[in-house]
Structure formats: C-alpha cells, structure tokens
C-alpha cells in the first residue's frame, strides 16, 4: 500500500517537470533546409501570449516577418515571473537569435543587461527607451500613446456632453473615467493624452482616474470602474491590460460605454466598447526585424506615432451609426493638427497639473 503511494508521488513529481517543460515554448519552430536562417525571437513579459495586447502584437510582428522575409525563423519564450526576464533573453541570444525582442516597460533593466552580456546579438525593447549609456546592439521602441489617448479623449469628450442624447448609455453629468494599471510611462501617456483630448473639446468635463496597481486583476479593474460609474461617469477608458477587462465588464453591467486600449477590444463586449486607443505594435516590430535582416539595424530609440500610422483609434463597429459625423471629423482634424505640429500633447501628469 505504502509503496503504491510512493510511486504515485514520484509520478506526480514527473508530471510537474513535464508541465514545466511544456509551458516554456509556445511557438512552433519550422526547420528549413537553407543554410543558417535568420532567427528573430521574443520573450514576453508576465502577461504572456493571449493578452490581446502588446505581447500578442509583438508576436504578430514576428509572424509577419516570417511570412514576408526569406529564410526567417521565429521563436517565443514566455516569462512566468519577473525573475525570468534575464535568463530568457540571454537564453534566446545563446540559442543563436539574430534579434531578440523584450516586450514591455517592466523588462527595461533586464533587456539592457542581456544586451551588455551578449554584444553580438541585436536586442530591441518595446515600450523601452534607449539612453546614451546603453550598448550599441540595443534599440528602444517607443510609441506616442498620448496621441492615441488624445484621439480617444476627443471622442469621449464630445460624446459624454454634446451627444449624450444619442444613446441611453450616456447621461448628462459630463463625467468620464480612466482605469490605470501600474503607473508606468506608457500608461501615464495614455491617461494624460486622454485628459487633454477630453478637455480640448469639452473643457468643463470631469475626468476621474483610479490606479489599480496590477495588470492582471480583473476584480480590481471592475471595482475601479464601478466606483467611477457611481460618480456618474458614463465613458470608462482603461489603460490597464487584463485588469481593464474587469473595467469593461463593469461598464457592460452598468450599461455605460467603455474605450479599450492597445488593440481593437470591441470583441470583448461589442455593445459596450465604443472604440479603442490603438498602438500598432506588429508593424513596428516587423520594421525593426527588417532593418536588422537587411543589415542596417539602428541603435538608439525609435519613436512610432501618427506619422508612421502606428497609433490611432479603432473603428466604431456597431456604434458607427450612432457616433455623429461631427465627432469623426473632429478626430480627423486632430490627426491633421498633430501631424502639422499645431497641437502639442503633454506626456506627463506634472505637465498638465494633475
């Protein structure tokens, strides 16, 4: 009897190992017959693939490179915790990667350390800026989130006041809300851009905001949104990753509108998500791979914005008929003004006095 238990226990231990090994590599590697393929790889942050946000976006960029460039292979490693970042990034370089992507601001110090340790491999970091002291094989990729936030803010600012009669999901209180994940630069830029966008068309509008402190805690995101809806907020914008799914859920249950982030989140709740402030990561990742592939990798920071069509807001989907032409025109006009340099958008809370 006792022996049987022991065997079971050993088998369970083996199962644990098996599970651990399986989880590591989510992407398929395709062996090719040609000589020495170009290997582009990425390590996700703790959000992992399937976050319907920047990890998935970066992966799509890799897939695009695999399809469109000759003899390119791709590889993905997912990080389960923050201590995995350096081993994963260094490991990918040791496995023969030509370029390694680190995804997310929270990987900043890890990717820079890995780049210093592995000088023969190119590294690129999404949402990570490159400083002067950083190694020559590192490229930072940043986005002008404030521009996407600004455009979303224009939509929210106009809808919540002038066009509140267009749907029963809006009220006359002239209040909108923002749910944030952790207060890191990309999140702050979204928020600050959004506030400026709202106030550019609706100076009296009250913009509430709550920082949840997590990117994975849906219950916290929901509570934050509910607390703002109690104060009559009728449009909830979130820049909170998976936490934001809870905010969208709250908006859905309470019958108000939500604005998604990073990718078009309309499919999360089609009758609730008005639009999304997008950051088109696949395109920028693809361009970065292409430059390394063609041998003209640029060091330093690359900033993608409206000019590269890398930020913007997504379609209104089922709300397309409800959103007046006036609002759409205002968004287009703002795009032109930003590109022409007629509008400057601040990027920090300090600059707008919050």
């Amino acid at each position: 009897m006792k022996k049987g238990w022991r065997i079971l226990f050993v088998m369970m231990a083996l199962l644990v190992l098996f599970v651990g090994c399986q989880g590591e590599e989510a992407a398929e590697e395709q062996p090719e017959e040609q000589a020495e393929p170009f290997l582009a790889s990425m390590a996700t942050d703790v959000g992992g693939l399937g976050d319907k946000s920047f990890n998935d976006g970066a992966y799509q960029g890799l897939q695009k490179a695999e399809q469109e460039l000759d003899n390119v292979e791709i590889k993905v490693i997912e990080s389960k915790q923050q201590t995995d970042y350096i081993p994963n990034l260094t490991g990918l370089a040791e496995d023969g990667s030509d370029i390694v992507f680190a995804v997310g601001f929270l990987m900043e110090s890890a990717v820079k350390e890995a780049a210093t340790n592995m000088p023969d491999t190119y590294f690129a970091g999404i949402d990570i800026g490159a400083g002067e002291d950083d190694p020559d094989n590192f490229q930072g990729i940043l986005y002008k989130e404030e521009q996407a936030g600004y455009l979303a803010g224009i939509v929210a600012g106009m809808m919540t006041k002038e066009h509140a009669d267009k749907t029963d999901k809006l009220n006359d209180a002239n209040v909108v809300g923002v749910v944030l994940g952790m207060l890191i630069p990309p999140v702050e830029k979204y928020e600050v851009g959004f506030i400026q966008g709202v106030h550019s068309v609706n100076p009296d509008c009250k913009v509430l905001s709550v920082t949840s402190g997590s990117f994975t805690d849906q219950a916290k995101g929901k509570e934050a949104a509910l607390a703002m809806i109690e104060q009559d907020a009728d449009i909830i914008f979130h820049a909170a990753g998976l936490t934001g799914l809870g905010a969208i859920q709250a908006a859905k249950e309470e019958g108000v509108l939500a604005i998604g982030v990073d990718v078009d989140q309309n499919n999360v709740a089609p009758e609730t998500v008005l639009t999304s402030a997008e950051k088109k990561i696949p395109q920028s990742v693809f361009l970065s791979i292409k430059s390394a592939y063609e041998g003209n990798f640029q060091t330093g920071t690359k900033v993608y914005g409206l000019a590269q069509d890398a930020v913007g807001i997504s379609d209104f989907h089922s709300f397309d008929d409800m959103v007046p032409q006036e609002v759409k025109d205002a968004v287009e006009q703002a795009k032109k003004d930003i590109l022409a340099g007629d509008v400057t958008i601040e990027t920090s809370r300090e600059a707008i006095g919050r």
């Binding site: 994975t216 849906q218 219950a219 999360v268």
Partner: protein
C-alpha cells in the same frame, strides 16, 4: 472633507461585501483546515485552479452552474494533493503549500494552452453568474443592510450561508468537534478511535472546496473571463483573515469584510481625490491595514495547539 462624505454611502458598503466575498470563502476554508491541524498556504493556488475550471466549465457548457460546480470540485481535488503530501507523507506543510502555489500557476497555464491555444486570458463568458442578481423580497428593501446583504449575486449568498453553516458545524456537530480535536490534541482523538488522518483529510478537502468556490466567484461571477494571476494574492489575505479572525468562521468573515472595506475605500479615495498623495499609498493601504490588524489581533487569538505539527502513530502490521 466634503469629498469624504460623498463616498461614505451605501455603495461603499455594497462594494465592501462584493470585494470580500472571494476572501471570505477562502478564509472559511483556512479556518477549517487549520483547525484540523494542517497549515494551508496553498489557497492562493487552489483559488486560481478553481477559477480556471469554473471558466472552462461555463465556457464549454454555456451553463455557469456547471462552471461553478467544476470550480469547486477542481479546488477540492487539487487540495487533496496537499492532504496526501502533508498527512500521508508527513511533508512540511509550508513546503507543500508553496509547491502547490507554483504548481497551480504552471497547471493553469498548461491547460490554457491545451484548451484555448494560448495562455493569458480566456474569451468572455457569455452566461455568467454576475447576470443573476437575486433581490430577496422584503429584506432587500431595508435601508443600507438590504442592498448590502439581500440584493446580491448567487455566490455572495452562498458565502453567507457557508459562514453560518460552518460556524454551526464546527461548534455543534460531532464531526466538527473531531476536526477541532485533530488540531488541538490528535492523540486523544486517536485514542477514542477516530482517525486523525481522516479528519485532517476532511479539513483540507473542505478548504479546497470553499477556495475553489472563491476562485469561481472571481472568474464567472465578478468578472466574465479567466485571467492568469487573477487571484492576485487573495488566498494569502484569506490566511491573514483566518488568523485575525481567531480561527473562527465568523471572525474570519468579519476580518474579510474589513479587508474588503479597506479596498473599497482606497478606490473611492482615488476617485474622489480626497487626499493628494501618490496612488501607490492608496494601493498598499488595504494590505498595510491587514498587517496592522493581524499584528494587533494575533496576540489575543490563539492558534490550534497542534497546527502544523505532524501526527505520526506506529501502526501494527504496516
């Protein structure tokens, strides 16, 4: 100060109940488990497993009740690993619990890939328990209390029922007495012919069931999809609630409400901009409050005497 009064309303108290429910459920489990003599720090892991299987059940069958059942059962089964390790193999309780928490993360990610093709988060669950709001006729009309306790979603009611049930069960039933004896004086229990092993298995299993239910609450009632890491430390807070609640279901319930209140309050402080201090201070507020509560109350509450102590007895012919 004016802003302060705008947030001190019934909504705040409703939010308190809503936020404390998953913690209450896990904390009841912690009470039963520790009373039986087993330290269970694996509730965080059990909750995430419960949350995942509840979401799977609700997504695949389209019926949230089957999801709830799957979440509870999965939590129970997962907790049995802890029981086998600690009761049958005499493994250190903390070590086993820590391992299970890590295992839970791996298992849910593995099954995410297996069932959904990607880790991270599942698709939205179209039929979830959050859509069912049961207002109890009459009682829900009572001011304040009515909205807090009698106009809620299903699992919130279940948590109230379980608190009362287990308070009665531990105090008044024979099995409850035996579970308590297993944690206080296992040798005496064994002497009167009751298996300490069985009682401890039962204690751990109950904690698995209730924690699984707490996880299910997060995935299919409060939210409408499963996200890796969505429990975010609630299993550990439940452990603290158990301690500051004095290893007693009703005490643990009150302690959970306290945490829920602190959390609901900090969110509303942020919305109302009541104090002009950095967000981080608000975010840690509920956790700091918990530490203070545990540190302040722990001296007055007494743990079961033999909790965490291995029980081994020489048996003939084994």
């Amino acid at each position: 100060m004016e802003a302060f009064f705008t947030i001190a309303n019934t909504d705040l108290l409703v939010a308190m109940v809503r936020l404390s429910t998953p913690i209450t459920l896990a904390a009841i489990g912690a009470v039963i488990c520790e009373r039986s003599g087993i330290v269970n720090i694996a509730m965080e892991g059990i909750m995430i497993v419960g949350a995942f299987f509840a979401a799977v059940g609700a997504l695949y069958t389209g019926n949230p009740w089957i999801g709830l059942l799957m979440g509870i059962v999965a939590g129970g089964i997962f907790s049995l690993i802890h029981a086998v390790a600690t009761v049958s193999f005499h493994l250190n309780h903390v070590v086993s619990g820590a391992v299970l928490n890590i295992l839970a993360m791996g298992v849910t990610r593995y099954f995410m890939v297996l069932f959904f093709g990607h880790p991270g988060t599942t698709d939205p669950i179209p039929n979830n328990l959050g859509q069912l709001r049961w207002a109890i006729p009459g009682l829900s009309k009572i001011p304040v209390i009515g909205r807090m306790f009698f106009d809620q979603t299903p699992i919130v009611y279940f948590s109230f029922i379980l608190v009362i049930f287990f308070a009665w069960f531990m105090k008044k039933t024979k099995v409850g007495l035996h579970i308590r004896a297993a944690g206080e004086h296992p040798l005496a229990l064994e002497t009167i012919g009751v298996s300490v092993k069985k009682m401890r298995y039962l204690g751990v299993f109950i904690s698995g069931l209730t924690s699984g239910m707490g996880g299910a609450y997060l995935a299919i009632e409060n939210s409408a999809s499963f996200t890796e890491g969505m429990t975010n430390g609630r299993g550990f807070i439940a452990l603290a609630a158990n301690i500051s609640g004095g290893w007693n279901p009703i005490g643990a319930f009150i302690a959970s409400l306290f945490f829920g209140f602190a959390d609901a309050l900090q969110v509303r402080f942020q919305v109302g901009k009541v104090f002009d201090i950095p967000e981080e201070i608000f975010i840690i507020f509920p956790y700091v409050a918990t530490i203070i509560a545990v540190a302040g109350l722990v001296r007055r509450s007494r743990p079961p005497k033999e909790v965490g102590v291995d029980f081994m007895i020489e048996q003939e012919g084994d």
